[in-house]
Structures are given as structure tokens and as C-alpha cells.
Symmetry: none
Subunit: 195 residues, 4 copies
Amino acid sequence: MTKLQKSIDKRNALIKATIELVNNNGFHATPMSKIAKMANVSPATIYLYFENKQDLVNQTYIEVKAKYTKYAFENYLESMSVEAGFELIWKRIADFKLNECKNAMFLAQCDNTPMIDEASRQEGIKHLQPLLDLWARGIKEGIIKPMSDYLLYAYSINPLSFLMISQKRGAFKLNDTNIQEAYESAWNSIRVINK
Amino acid sequence: MTKLQKSIDKRNALIKATIELVNNNGFHATPMSKIAKMANVSPATIYLYFENKQDLVNQTYIEVKAKYTKYAFENYLESMSVEAGFELIWKRIADFKLNECKNAMFLAQCDNTPMIDEASRQEGIKHLQPLLDLWARGIKEGIIKPMSDYLLYAYSINPLSFLMISQKRGAFKLNDTNIQEAYESAWNSIRVINK
Amino acid sequence: MTKLQKSIDKRNALIKATIELVNNNGFHATPMSKIAKMANVSPATIYLYFENKQDLVNQTYIEVKAKYTKYAFENYLESMSVEAGFELIWKRIADFKLNECKNAMFLAQCDNTPMIDEASRQEGIKHLQPLLDLWARGIKEGIIKPMSDYLLYAYSINPLSFLMISQKRGAFKLNDTNIQEAYESAWNSIRVINK
Amino acid sequence: MTKLQKSIDKRNALIKATIELVNNNGFHATPMSKIAKMANVSPATIYLYFENKQDLVNQTYIEVKAKYTKYAFENYLESMSVEAGFELIWKRIADFKLNECKNAMFLAQCDNTPMIDEASRQEGIKHLQPLLDLWARGIKEGIIKPMSDYLLYAYSINPLSFLMISQKRGAFKLNDTNIQEAYESAWNSIRVINK
DNA sequence: CATGAATGAGGATTCATTCAT
DNA sequence: TATGAATGAATCCTCATTCAT
């Protein structure tokens, strides 16, 4: 294992510990010392990789957000039809919320909280472009309702966060049937419905 | 003004300050001393009204959540038709998110964060029953899709939180057109659609 | 003892402890915790009286400098002759260096070190005006050499700091004979000498 | 360049960096890491040349002090008359304070501070002997007042430190006229004056 | 000889909470 | 009831020093 490799491992361990602890205890109640302990490093070591606590959280956010969008668009091709493309992306995102539950939880907490720098938030949004392009295409083709991206996201994608959190709290279980229902709700909320 | 009245004023001032500061700075970065200062009260006084910081936040949450549901069902009558009842409640909730923006922000932050006791969270959900009853009725009448309450809430109500936060961040502006679009998306996501 | 009185006592204890510890160990090697312990207060209490460590040292400097000049000009009257006035002030300053040794040591350390804010340094100089006025009078009367105040201070006053430090280090003892010799050297260094 | 040469270069770079940083920021606020960076060296390398931080500062002090006295006595011959010898040495010292300002500043800061070991301080004084001898000769010849070396140094040499610091702070400018005035004050403060 | 990474110990500062009044 | 002063226990962060390479 090279030195550089080892360094990346430490950085990853720190980010993983941050996610774990912030998820369970919140940003408040997550001291640097606990993060260090969980990552098996000295508190001082954190500062070799991150400027300060804020920077650690910002970078964790950016990293997780990038992983999220990468996952979402993994198999997506611009040559797909609007509906097929949307379904593919939507299901990938749903998968992410289920399989990468910790990452998804972390993002949900960041997104409703002033714990992330505005700059990092912007950085995190960047990679969502393919979805916006798909919607634009759908609108041009008369398949998707001509609405703001914010509305489209709010109704077709964001509900998955609520469901993921509800499931995490144990109040509710997402299964294949549910997922299909959810997908149809999402699609119906944004598609043009011919009466 | 009676003595009791004065006490309630102080309690209210504390709750208001808590909301304001948690909204702007997050739970971390909201010390008791700042809450006291904003409420024009000594730090020690907080402990006459609340057991500790956790209790203060819990009670703030419960109070805001109660205000939210009270607002939502203000003019609702069980005698209304399912669709009319849903539209009424939905628009009240949308109003709340717009007019009582600070309260709504606070709830959004609490709901995705481990800053509230599980018990207080349960307490907060209680008053949502009329909406659940309405949905049950809608399902029985074949108007609303037979889905879990969590799915119905996730798609028809929760998106408003996302929109409210986006608006607060300045990225997006909710106007009458938008609201109507949003309502239709909400309704289409849960209603039975006859092909 | 009133509450205010008690506060002033604590402030004084903190300033005294700061002088003592900085004298013995230097600004580096004087942690706030030690200052607190020596003043019999909690570390947190320091921050009720001073903004931070820098502020504590600045204010200590200003306070000691004020005490120094107050002592220097205690019995001085502007009606005195230049020579009598100078001798009086000089001897008061010499007394201060001997009797208020700790205070003098502290000033000497501050004056040759970047540990004090420039603003506080300026504040500390303020009260030296009577001496400068005396010198101006002496120059006008042809008794004192027409030189910059800095030169006059360097040769007639500042050497006492060197002597005080040497004595503190045990290398040398100031006694009445010495003091008189020192006074004459001081006076000869600034007076006009008729050949 | 030989290997040994390179080592000496590094040592010199470290000492230079120490002087620069301690002058500008004070001993507190001068971490080893900054010294290393300014000397273009790894922090660990410092420990190849010096035992620890204290040792680094001690040795820097001794080295600068040696340079100071070497400079002072450069052209001095014991065969010179007392007055000529004193003037020569005094002017060399004055030159040092002006031209080797950084070195002089560093010494001034060390001399009023507990940042140097007592042993190193003693080591630093050693090389001043020629001046003490000159004074002894002057006293025997009835030219210089029979006073302690400490008094002679305090009045004839030490004031230059005060002037150098004042100049560094921008409050005052030393020029040829000033220097001559200063020299005369110095000489008058220690010579025997015949009335 | 040289180093960059790593760290434990410690430092300044903050904060939830208490207590005498 | 109301408070301002006080504080011990953290918390974030720094730094002199070491060690594997």
C-alpha cells in the first residue's frame, strides 16, 4: 500500500465517520474527537485533511452528493426516450435511498439545515444537469408539464427522501410494491395527463 | 396584564427566539445565551420555563407542529367531499408554508434531524388525523389510490417543504400560478386516474 | 461588600496574576488556566472581564502604565523649576522601579515585545505628557539640550529599566549611592553643559 | 558546495527564520512549523540541528550576541586612548543597531523576557570584556566616573536599544545629527565632568 | 541527512446550567 | 418570579515533537 493510498484511506475513514455520527447524533453533538476516534486517528490528524469542522462537513456533503448523482445517472443514456430515461433515473435514485441509506440520510439532514456553506451547496447541485436536460426534452415533446425544475424535483424526486427517513425511523417499510406505487405517483405528478 | 399573562409572554418570546435562531444558525450555533438575549430575558430565566435545552426545543417543536395542524384544518368540515376537502386542506398548508414561513422552516429542519426527542415527534404527529381520515374516505370511494399514508403524505404534502426551503434560499419564487401547478401535481400523484 | 466591589476585586486579581505569571514565565508559557487558578476563579470567569487573552494583556498593560505615570507625577507641580521638577520625577520613577518591581518588570517586557496591540501601546503613552512639557520648558530655558523627546527619554529615563532588570536577575544591587550616581548620569546626559 | 557547507546553510536559514519570526510575531506565536517553512525545511529537520525549541532560541541568542560583540570591537585596539576607544566602540554599536536592525531587535526582545536560559544569557555576556576593560582603564585615568559596569552600560550603551525600537515602530528616525547628539549624551553620562 | 505524516498533550474559548440575591 | 455572575466540563484547534521511510 503506497503512502498516498494510506492517506486516501484516512480521508475516507474520516468522511465515513462524519456521516455515521452526524446521522445518529446531529451536527451538534458530533465532536471532532468522536469522529477521530471512530476513524482511528488522532484528533490532530483531521486537520491534515480538512481545514476545520465546517470544511470537513462541507467536503463530506460534496462527496456524498457527487456519489449520489453518479449513482443516479450510471446507466442513463441521452438516447433514451423521456419516459424510459426518467424511469431509469428515478429507480436508480430510489435504489440509492435504500441501499446507500446512510449517505441519503446525511444528504437529507444537510439539505434542510444551515450546516453547509452556500458555496458547497451550489457545488453539490452541479451534477444534476442530465436530469434537468431530460425534463427540458420532455417538456418540448409535450410529455412533461411545463413547470419549474424546482416543482418537478419537489414532486417526482424529493418525496423519496421523506420515505427514506420514515423507513429509517421504523414507521414504514418500502418494498417492491411500494416502490412501484411511488414511481407511478412521481410520474403522474409531472407528466401531461390527457383527459 | 396579569402575572400569568406576563409569564406566557416570556415563554412565547423564548419559543419565538428559538425558532428564529435555529432557522438562521442551526441547532448547533444556537446557544442558550443568545436565545435569552433575543427574548430579553436572563439565561437563568429559561430554566424557569423549560427543564433544559432539549426540553426547550422539544416544546417549541410540539407547539409549532400544533399551530401547523390547527391552521391546516381551520375551515375543514368532515362533511365536505373528498376532493374539496383535500383541496381546502392542501391550500391551507400551502398558505402556512408561505405566510408562516419561519414556523415552517423550523419544522422542516426538525423533521430531518435528530434534534427532537422521538416522544416529541410522536406528539407532533397526533393532530394530523383528520387528513388521514379524509384519505381513508377517499380510498373507500375509489377516488384516492389505496396506498400507505406515508406515500400519500410524501407525494401530496411534503413537496411543499422542499418548495418552501427553495424559496427561502432565493432560488425560486412561489406565485399563484406555481401554487396551482403544485396543487395539480399533488392531486395527480394520489388520485385514481382513469385512463 | 457590594456585588460591584466583588467584581472589581476579581478583575484586579486577574490582572495581578497576569503580571506575576508573565513576569516569571513569559507571555508564551502563561496559559489562561494558570491565570485563573492563581486568581482563584474558573477559566470561564476570565471571559466575563476580558474579551480574550490579548485583551487581558492589553488591559493589564494600560492599567500598569497608568499606575506608573500616576506614581511618577504624584508630587510634581508645574510651578517647580526645570531641574527640581526633573529630579523629583526621576526619583519617583526610580522609586517605582524599585518598590513596584513587578509592575516595572511587566512594562519592560511589554515594551520590547510584540505582545501588546499598537492601540494599547499608544493608550499607554498618553499620560507621559507632563514630562514632555517639562522638557520643552527646559529646552526653552536653555537648560536642557534641544533634542527629540525620544533621545531625552532614552538617556534619562529608560536606563532605569535596564538597571531594574539587572537587579532582578541578581547581578547587581541598586542602593542609595548607586541611585545618586544614576541620577547624575541621567541629568548630565540631557542638560546643557557649559564648558 | 560540500555536504558540511550545506548543513551550515540550513542551520543559518533556521536561525535567520527564528529571528525574523520572533521579531514580527513574538516568541509566543512563533511555532516550529512556521520556522521550518520559512527556512525551506521540514519541521523534523530542525531537530537534527537543535535539541528542541528552547535550544533553538538559546543558540540563536548566543549566535546573535556573538555577532554583535564581534561587530562592536572590529576595529578597536587596546592601544587607543580611552575616549577614542569608547567613541569607536559606541559608533560601531550604533551602526549595528541601524544596519543589523533585525539582529538588534531580536536581542532587545530576548533581554527583557524570560525566553532565554540563564546559562545562555551568561554565555552571551562573555565577549563584552574589552569594553569593561576600557572602562576600567578610563576610571583609573580619571576620565570615566567610577561606577558599576551596569550603570555605565545602562547609560552609555543601552539607550541605543530604546532608540532602535522606537525607530522600528516608526515613531522616530535616527539620522546623523541624532546619532551625534546621542553619542554626546552617552559620553556625558559616564565621563567625569570638571566644573 | 532529510522528510512528511502523525500525534498526544495542552491551550484558548464556549456553553449549558446553577446559585446567591 | 427573575436575574447576573459564576463555573466545570467540554469543544475546537494548535503545536512541539517523533517516526517510518
